[in-house]
Every structure is written in C-alpha cells, then in structure tokens.
C-alpha cells in the first residue's frame, strides 16, 4: 500500500507539471497584456514595467523562471491587486470558498444518498418518480440560475437571508444551497442505480432468508454496499462545485477564490490566472488521490487486494 501511494504521489506531481506547462504556454499564446489598455503609458514606461515583471526575457527563460518559482511554492506576483504574491491572494480567499464548497458537498451528498436510497427501495412508485424528478432538476439547473432564484426569493423578496454579504453562517446558506443542487442530483442518481442493483443481489435475498426485517435488510446490508461506490464520484463532484463556485461567489459577493478567478480573467492578470489554475488542479488531483486511497480502506475487497493477504 505504501508503495502504491508513493507511486500515486509521483504521478500527481507529473500531472501538475504537465498542467503548469500547458497553462504557461497557453497564456503566452493569448493576445493582449494587462497593460494593453493603458494608453497613457509611453513605450519607455511600458518597457520598464515589462522588465519589472520579467516579460522582456525570451519565453523559454520566463518558463524556466516560472517553473523554478513553482518548485519553491511561489506562484509569481499579481499584475494587479497591489502586486501581491499570488499565493497570498489565494491564502486570503481560501476560507470562504472552502466553507461553502464543503457545506455544499456535505449537504448534497447526504440528501442525495437519502433521496437515492428511498427511490431505490420504492422503485417504480410515485416516490421513485418524484425523487428522479428532483435529481434531474438538481442536475440540469445551472448553479448560477439557482443562485439568482434563491437570491431573488429568499433574500430580496422574503428577507430570510442576506442578499449578498459575507459575515456569519447565515450568509453562507444561499450559496451553499445553490452549489448543493448538482452534487445532490449526481449522488441521488448514482445511489439509486447502485442500490437497485444491490437490492436484487443474492446476498440481499440471503439476508432476507435469515429473518431480517425489510428495514434491517436495508440498514445492515444494502446501504453499506451501495455507499462504497459513491466515494468514486466525489472527485468529479468536487470539480463541479469548484466551477460552480466561481459564478456563485460573484453573485453573492463572497470574497472567495472563485470570485478572484473571475476578476483576474477580466483584468488579464496572467500570474493570478495561472496560479489559480494550478491551485485548482492541485486541489483536484489531491482530492482524487485521497478518494482512491479512501476507497481502498473502506472496501474490504480492495483493502486486502493491495498488500494484504491473498
């Protein structure tokens, strides 16, 4: 198992290296610079500014410098935002994003599991139809549409929650709900399929033949077996929550990473865009790695398959 994890960590860094390289060169291909709109600068001034950021060097030198910095955990300096280091920018904005992201993932997953399980147990009844309808709704309404709807009704019209503010838990409710819809839909659909499958398996029949009540068959045998594979979709779900977060943070004026990302794009702030892209990729590959390792721990078949007995 330790060898497997080491191998995975090596691949993780390889992936990040490739992503960083690709992002770097893509950025270089883009037209325009952060300074292209600044007509007031004379060519000389522009030269000085460019030299200050190292943009007068050849692309290759810039690349080597950037990657060197990356190795030391340095994502460069922002062209905007008071020339702060990109890492500082990210650090300041990490907490709100993490909070609503985690809340949305937990809420969506828990509700999705319940919805999917109920749908599977009441397969082909109106309960199932309703649950399917809800999960398809969750999957198909874009999070920004939901965000705007929630904002309009729950905040603007009925004054239950603040419109766009970031201070206490109250202010995190609406963005969390907006972001939770997608994981909810995903998990519910996945859970239903898994559980329908499990419920028709031989070991469930054996569990019934032991004299377990219908409730106990579900809680003691069906649930655990259907839950294990859910772990595999946590990675992709995290991606969708992160992307959704960019727009949702803007709608609710949350000082998070997503909002920062959008701002950087509109201001051509390349170092920040690159830094955030690499940061997002890093988060993602780490989540996927953790999920894979976790899967190995909770599924006895895999747990023992790698380095255990057999």
């Amino acid at each position: 198992m330790a060898k497997y994890i080491l191998k995975r960590i090596f691949y993780l860094f390889l992936t990040l290296f490739i992503i960083a390289t690709l992002t770097f060169f893509l950025m270089k291909l883009l037209p325009g610079t952060p300074f292209s709109n600044q007509n007031r600068m004379s060519p000389d001034q522009l030269k000085i500014v460019k030299a200050q950021y190292g943009l007068d060097q050849s692309v290759f030198v810039q690349y080597v410098r950037y990657m060197g910095g990356l190795l030391q955990g340095n994502l460069g300096t922002s062209f905007q935002f008071n020339n702060e280091p990109v890492t500082t920018l990210i650090g300041q904005r990490l907490a709100p994003s993490m909070q609503i992201g985690a809340q949305a993932m937990i809420l969506g997953t828990v509700l999705g599991i319940l919805l999917g399980a109920v749908a599977a147990i009441r397969k082909n009844t109106w309960v199932d139809t309703l649950a399917t309808f809800i999960s398809i709704l969750g999957l198909s309404i874009p999070s920004f549409v939901l965000a705007v709807l929630l904002q309009f009704y729950l905040a603007y019209k009925w004054h239950i929650y603040p419109v766009a503010l970031w201070d206490n838990f109250q202010s995190s409710v609406l963005p969390t709900l907006a972001l939770a819809a997608l994981p909810l839909g995903n998990v519910a659909r996945f859970m239903r399929t898994e559980m329908v499958d499990v419920m028709s398996s031989d070991y469930i029949e054996l569990a019934k033949s032991k004299g377990n009540s219908a409730w106990k068959v579900v809680t003691k045998h069906a649930l655990r077996n259907s839950l294990i594979p859910i772990v595999t979709i946590i990675g992709p779900m995290a991606v969708s929550v992160m992307t959704g977060s960019m727009v949702v943070e803007n709608i609710f004026s949350i000082p998070g990473i997503g909002e920062q990302f959008v701002k950087s794009i509109t201001t051509n702030d390349y170092p920040t865009i690159m830094g955030l892209t690499i940061f997002y990729s890093f988060l993602l590959v780490v989540i996927i790695l953790i999920v894979d390792i976790l899967y190995g721990f909770i599924d006895p078949r895999i747990r023992l398959g790698n380095g255990g007995k057999e």
Binding site: S201, D202, Y203, E205, L206, A207, K208, S209, K210, G211, N212, S213, A214, K216, H221, R224, N225, I228, D299, P300, R301, L304, K309, E310
Partner: protein, 348 residues
C-alpha cells in the same frame, strides 16, 4: 412419522409484460421430520419457485394464486410478513445456489454467520460469535477462530458454500431448503458438501428439501424423490421407486441422460430431445406430450391424473391407465426394473 410440512395444490403465477406465466400449476407434497426430499427436474421446471414459496421469498411480480403451505398445521400463506420473519432463518432456512454471490461482500463472515442467532434469540453478541465459530468448525472451515473477521472474497468457492450452509444451520432449523447447493462447485467439492449435509442432518435432525437437476446427486442424499416438469410433479416416490421402478417417460428420459460409467467412456449423453412448453400458454393436455415418444391421443386432450404405483409412489402419465397399451420402455430402464426385482420390489 411426523408430517412437519404439507404443501397442497400450490399455484404460482408471474405477471409479465407478455401475460401471466403459470410457473407452478398444482404442486402437492409433504415432508416428514428428519427426512430428505429431493426435487429434480430440468432448468425452468419450477423447483426454485416451489421452495421459495414456502419462505415467501418470491419476486414482486409473483402471485401465489391458490393452495396452502401448512407448517405444523399452520398455513404459512396466511401469515404476516412479521410472522414470516420469525420463521425465516430460524425454523426454516435456505441454502442458495451460488456461493460466489450469496455472501455480503462487505461484512466479515463471523458476523454473517452469527446474524440469525442475534435476530431470533436473546443472546449476547459474544455468545452468538462463539456459536458462529463453532458452526464454522462444524462445516469444515479450518481455523475458524482466526478467520471470523475475514471477508467472503478471502475464501474459495467450496469454503463459501460451507459458510452459506453454516448460516443456514446456525439456529438449528427444523427444515433446511437446499436449492442446488452444489451446482456451482466442482465434483469433488460437490461430494464433500453432500456428505456434510448428511452428517449435519444426523447431528441436528433437520429435514431437508434438496433441489437439483442432477439425478446422480440424489441417490446419495434423498429418502424420497419428486420429479418436476413444467410446474408440476410428474412422479414421486422413494429413491428406489424412482431409480429402479420409474413409470413416467420423463423420468425415464432423466435417468437415461444420467452419466454412467459407460456413457462417460464414449462421452455421449442421451438428453431428452425438445424443450419444455411455454408456461404463458400451457398446453391443454399433458405438458410433456410433445417430447414424449410414447404419447397417446389422450395426452393432447387431457392432463393425466396421478396413478398410484405402490404405496407412496405416484406418477402422472396416461400409460398407467388400465386401458393404456403396454409400451416397451428403453433398454436401460428395463435393466433398472431387473435391479428392482433383485431388491425385492414388484414391477408393474
């Protein structure tokens, strides 16, 4: 002898997209304390549905249309789901066909074996686990104390079937239903499992309903045999009756398709030609008639009743009607009749 189970005129239908499948069409039998009844028949003849009806472990689209299943005189078909839960795994338990898929892959086997005890008895977890360990040893799992926490995938197919058996017997059931418990296993393991069941029967005195489509297995375990075809029992009697004095042409066919020393030498099995009827529209007459070279006109018209061959031996074939012409059974069957006479029986 004590009759502990009496199935009377059982009819089971399945609602399907194409119509109603009449899977069981009037099955009756009884089971005595301590005996083994084997049910044999081709795939699809209704063996599993018959025994699953007893525990009411049927698919959602099943309908037990008619009949009764008396357990110590109480009709199980009238019981509530809760009352059935008290019987399942406690008084009547079941061994399933496929050991590879019958165990919960994410639960340690010790817990799985102890489960029926915890459901039905007021025992502590510790006592239940101790008993589970003891039963695992009884069914022949080596070092059970070290393996209680292992998961199903860490055992071989034969070992898993032993674990499935351990689950079925852990609470000393009165009736053990074994639905093809050896089909998925290789021949040596098959023989071991049969020996194990016989041994267990002697130890705990349970009655067994043993399902198989392999008559070869039957001789080693059963007291009585029922031959099933298209949702009905076509012949039933003692092992000797069925093996050495068979009366139904379908039984003849089954016996003829049994591998013997000679057939395994030249590798040829005489399987019965043709296929069973579609039970969406069962034929008006004898369901076996289209495959029966001894079929008569009446077979197309009317279903044969049970004719008594001897005490406890019945067969549903018009050939036993007093007016039926004498037919010449296959040579191999005649040889069996000879044997029957040697055994002291009287052949009709």
């Amino acid at each position: 002898m004590d009759k502990i189970l009496e199935v009377k005129d059982l009819h089971v239908n399945f609602a399907t997209y194409n119509g109603t499948v009449q899977a069981i069409r009037g099955v009756s039998f009884d089971l005595n304390a301590g005996e083994t009844l084997a049910i044999v028949g081709e795939s699809g003849s209704g063996k599993s549905i018959t025994v699953r009806s007893i525990l009411q472990l049927l698919a959602k689209n099943a309908d037990i249309a008619k009949g009764s299943i008396l357990y110590h005189g109480d009709d199980l078909l009238q019981k509530s789901e809760k009352e059935m839960d008290d019987i399942r795994g406690n008084k009547i338990s079941m061994i399933f066909q496929d050991p590879m898929t019958s165990l919960d892959p994410t639960m340690p086997i010790g817990k799985q074996v102890a489960e029926p005890l915890l459901i039905h008895n007021n025992v502590s977890k510790k006592d239940a686990m101790a008993r589970a360990e003891e039963v695992l040893r009884l069914v022949g799992i080596p070092n059970p104390e070290a393996r209680m926490k292992d998961y199903p995938h860490q055992f071989s197919g034969g070992q898993r079937q032993r674990i499935v058996i351990a689950i079925a017997i852990v609470d000393y059931p009165e009736i053990l239903i074994a639905d093809e418990p050896t089909t998925a296993l290789d021949v040596t393991v098959q023989a071991q499992i049969i020996d194990l069941l016989r041994e267990l029967q002697q130890k705990i005195g349970t009655s067994i309903i043993f399902i198989t489509h392999d008559l070869g297995v039957v001789a080693g375990i059963a007291d009585r045999v029922a031959v099933m075809y298209a949702g009905k029992f076509v012949e039933y009697g003692s092992v000797n009756d069925i093996f050495y004095n068979p009366q139904h042409p379908y039984t003849w066919g089954l016996l003829d398709s049994m591998p013997t020393l000679e057939t395994s030498e030249n590798n040829r099995l005489n399987s019965i030609p043709g296929t069973p009827p579609n039970l969406l529209n069962p034929p008006k007459g004898d369901a076996f008639a289209p495959r029966n070279k001894y079929a008569m006109e009446i077979d197309e018209e009317e279903q044969p009743p049970y004719f008594k061959v001897s005490k406890n031996h019945y067969a549903a074939t018009w050939l036993l009607h007093p007016n039926a012409p004498k037919v010449d059974p296959p040579a191999s069957i005649k040889k069996r009749f000879e044997k029957f006479k040697e055994l002291g029986g009287s052949v009709k």
